[in-house]
């Protein structure tokens, strides 16, 4: 029995290592399984994987400008209401069918018909201003979108990574019009090979991919695959994922803890970093009797050393930024850092003026996201030093999210998902608190400026609008932005060409494994 065991073990080891040597497989960690292949029921992992298989008409470049993806070019009419896209020459689905304008329209109609289930529907149905009125297909390579009014956001929303507004083959749907489970026929440079639920998703290089003439950047340009396969391995536990990286079983570990960078480097791994787009703030409930006092909020702002928190939590990779305009954005400049300075003495004076008598201020937090937890500890300590009686309320993440959705908190340590355009972020935090409990900032003047930002297409004029919004925010203090979470990935020494970008989405194209 011992002999059989040893032989089979040796044989298996041979097979395992032999197989690894044959195919150039790029192994990327994801922390949970994808939710499907249709893109409606989605999360961050689903978006990451599916954007390798499918292509949107336009995509974000690494500098967050809009570049070509499935569309090789586009024009905008004089009145700003007609967008004409030309589909990339040679674009082909994985089943060999050419991609046509009819396919674009089929996908668009399908997304819109989904209604509220497609979470981006509201971006295009007029409820937030912008409305797509018609989609026309004058010839097989031309598709025309007509919108109701000029919009600064139309292309950004088409490229919106979370919207998954990509173009899939109509053959993904069955005769009943429903998406066939686990099918994924797209035109991207990778095609779905195998999805073993709960374990991994393997994509293989699509040889029929016709590349864009533009250089690869972000989700735009040439996406040619250089590895034979990209395998997204589902490893929920962070320590296990780190061990797998150190053992060489995965090549790319996204969301690597910035404090662990030196350890990774000492093991011969590469650590890639860039500024991110996910704001990490302390939320303030301005409808709370205590927190509605703007003098108290000013005192809290003076009591927190924001720069120290940003430096400590991100190992110096991100600087303090309280605004909705991240450092990675082309709109960013120093004016967006205007905020009450760290001054505990001023905080104490303001506390007296606010009539603060040591009432407890609860900071809700959770231990599932270590960053949120550590931020809350640092803030609590700083508030205590300034004489503010702050207490932590540690909750399960699901419970905390419930409170966020219901607006039930005084302060909350939070983290927003990445928004690639400042208007998208301001749209999320602003609103009427009586009908939208998730709104953090209820100010009609700011709302009007936000609406203006969505319609202003001139860059400088738009930047000026964002500055006006931020100046108002620094006065109202409805939310305390701490920093934008840096994008950090650890990569195996054999990997060449992998890079991180502000959108924090892994890309397997353009990457080699030696």
């Amino acid at each position: 029995m011992n002999r059989t065991f040893l032989i089979s073990t040796a044989l298996a080891a041979g097979l395992l290592f032999g197989a690894a040597a044959q195919a150039a497989t790029l192994n990327i960690r994801i922390n949970a399984d994808i939710r499907g292949t249709e893109g409606i029921d989605r999360d961050a992992n689903t978006d990451t994987v599916l954007h390798h298989i499918f292509e949107t008409l336009v995509g974000f470049r690494a500098d967050l400008s809009i570049g070509p993806a499935l569309a090789e070019a586009w024009t905008v009419s004089e009145d700003g209401k007609t967008y004409t896209f030309t589909i990339r020459e040679g674009a082909t689905f994985h089943n060999g069918d050419p991609v046509t304008s009819a396919d674009v329209k089929w996908n668009w109609d399908r997304r819109v018909a989904t209604g509220v289930e497609w979470f981006c529907n509201a971006f295009f149905d007029g409820s937030q201003g912008l409305k797509v009125e018609t989609v026309e297909t004058p010839d097989p390579r031309t598709v025309v979108f007509r919108i109701n009014e000029p919009s600064a956001l139309f292309l950004a929303q088409l490229a919106n990574i979370q919207c998954n507004g990509w173009v899939a083959s109509p053959k993904n749907a069955g005769p009943d019009g429903k998406w066939i489970a686990d099918t994924a026929i797209g035109s991207g440079s990778f095609k779905l090979k195998e999805w073993v639920k709960g374990q991994y998703i393997t994509l293989e290089k699509f040889d029929g991919y016709a590349p864009s003439k533009e250089k690869a950047s972000g989700y735009a340009g040439d996406r040619t695959a250089l590895v034979d396969e990209a395998k997204f391995m589902i490893i929920p536990d962070t320590s296990a994922a780190e061990t797998a990286l150190f053992a060489g079983e995965i090549d790319v570990l996204p969301n690597f803890e910035s404090q662990r960078m030196e350890d990774a480097k000492s093991r011969g791994l590469k650590v890639l970093t860039t500024a991110g787009l996910s704001l990490t703030p302390m939320l303030i409930q301005t409808t709370d009797p205590l927190m509605s006092n703007v003098k108290l909020r000013q005192a809290i702002a003076h009591a927190i050393d924001f720069e120290q928190i940003a430096a400590a939590r991100t190992a110096g990779l991100s600087a303090f930024n309280p605004s909705g305009v991240p450092q990675a954005s082309a709109y960013f400049d120093e004016d967006f850092l205007t905020w009450p300075e760290y001054n505990p003495e001023a905080a104490k004076t303001l506390l007296a003026e606010a009539g603060y008598k040591g009432e407890v201020i609860k900071i809700q937090t959770n231990t599932r996201y270590q960053g949120m937890y550590e931020n809350s500890i640092l803030v609590q300590a700083m508030l205590a030093a300034a004489g503010i009686n702050a207490e932590l309320e540690v909750l399960d993440w699901a419970a905390q999210l419930d409170n966020y959705l219901a607006g039930k908190f005084q302060m909350q340590s939070f983290g927003y998902s990445a928004r690639l355009d400042p208007s998208q972020f301001y749209g999320v935090i602003m609103g009427d608190k009586t009908v939208e409990p998730t709104a953090q900032w209820d100010n009609p003047e700011a709302w009007q400026l936000y609406i203006k930002s969505t319609k202003t297409t001139d860059f400088e004029a738009r930047k000026a609008v964002f500055k006006e919004i931020h100046a108002l925010m620094a006065k109202d203090l409805p939310i305390f932005g701490l920093y934008y979470e840096p994008v950090v990935a650890a990569v195996g020494a054999k990997i060449e060409g992998f890079d991180v970008w502000a959108a924090d989405k892994e890309r397997a194209w353009g990457v080699k494994k030696n």
């Binding site: 089979s8 073990t9 044989l11 298996a12 080891a13 097979l15 395992l16 949970a32 399984d33 939710r35 499907g36 029921d41 999360d43 509220v116 289930e117 979470f119 981006c120 529907n121 509201a122 409820s127 979370q162 639920k197 709960g198 374990q199 991994y200 391995m233 589902i234 490893i235 929920p236 536990d237 320590s239 296990a240 994922a241 061990t243 797998a244 150190f246 053992a247 060489g248 079983e249 995965i250 599932r368 909750l395 399960d396 993440w397 699901a398 419970a399 999210l401 419930d402 409170n403 966020y404 959705l405 927003y416 998902s417 999320v428 939208e436 998730t438």
Partner: protein, 313 residues
């Protein structure tokens, strides 16, 4: 015997019914909305309500329970909220992974621990006994996740002999499957053999003091015959009860090991389900686990008379 089995099954029904109520109620008492977790901070106005309606979460809780119970009784455990997969096939698939590891581990733990316990009893209060007791106490004291991580670091990371993450089913590739389960199985064998050894030792010592063992020795039978032919059967009966409990407990609590070794088993399914507030998954897994406990204990009770004729079914 048939009557005994039927009686045991009948007594299990109220247990499972109470478990179903408890699990259902507890899941809804803890804060957290599965629809909200799915949408996160990207939810648009109206979308959360629409999703809650689609999931049936806007119905009264009692009605939700009755619908679920009715479906379960007809063999339909519902659909996962987060992955949209049917729960029953998913549970069975994940259970097969957990069961493979647990059964193999308990088998090897028994194979090692029972002789070790009997040896310690035979050498009671001598060096051999002390060595066995010390080792089993040490193994009992080590948390399984720590031991698993240490084995991972040594054999996976430092020596590179074994894979550190993932799982391959035996039906797909026997050799690779073997490599992937070695570390989790060894972890469980080491941790569980401690308690089994101690139980085997204690019950053997107890049996060795009985008159029929003294009689066997007085007849001049060799010590090995006394131990294996006469003492083993009676001494093994209580140990088997413990093994049954260990088996049931591991099938239910293997989550930690599955998280450490990234094994897609029932435990990980349950943990992921709790984080995502995936009600159908959690309810299904808990009910299934309760059923496993009942089943394993029933099997142990049925095997008991085979080892100890004084016990009748």
């Amino acid at each position: 015997m048939v009557r005994f089995v039927l009686t045991r099954i009948a007594t299990a029904i109220p247990t499972l019914f109470l478990v179903s109520i408890a699990v259902f109620a507890l899941m809804r008492m803890i804060p957290g909305d599965p629809a909200a977790l799915m949408l996160g901070d990207l939810a648009q106005p109206g979308q959360l309500e629409a999703l809650r309606h689609e999931m049936g979460l806007d119905r009264p809780i009692a009605l939700q329970y009755l619908y679920w119970l009715g479906d379960v009784l007809s063999g339909d455990f519902g659909q996962s909220i987060s992955t949209r997969q049917p729960v029953l096939p998913l549970m069975l698939e994940r259970f097969s992974v957990s069961a493979t590891i647990v059964v193999v581990a308990v088998f090897f733990a028994t194979l090692i621990a029972v002789p070790a316990g009997m040896f310690a009893a035979w050498r009671q209060n001598r060096a051999g006994d002390i060595a066995v007791i010390a080792t089993s106490t040490l193994l009992l004291s080590i948390p399984s996740f720590w031991l698993g991580l240490m084995l991972l670091l040594i054999f996976g990371l430092q020596l590179g002999w074994l894979p550190v993450v993932g799982y391959v089913p035996f039906s797909r590739d026997f050799g690779s499957a073997l490599l992937f389960i070695i570390l989790p199985v060894v972890t469980l064998v080491l941790v569980e053999s401690g308690s089994i050894t101690r139980m085997a030792r204690a019950s053997t010592i107890e049996v060795a003091r009985l008159e029929y063992i003294t009689h066997a020795r007085a007849k001049g039978l060799p010590e090995s015959t006394v131990m294996w032919r006469h003492a083993f059967k009676n001494a093994f009966a209580p140990t088997m009860t413990l093994i049954g409990l260990v088996l049931g407990s591991l099938l239910a609590n293997i989550a930690v090991i599955e998280m450490v070794f990234t094994i897609p088993g029932l435990g990980r399914l349950l943990v992921d389900g709790i984080y995502a507030r995936d009600y159908p998954i959690v309810q299904g897994c808990m009910l299934f686990t309760a059923f496993l406990y009942v089943l394993v204990n029933l099997l142990v009770d049925l095997l008991y008379p085979l080892l100890d004729p004084r016990v009748t079914a």
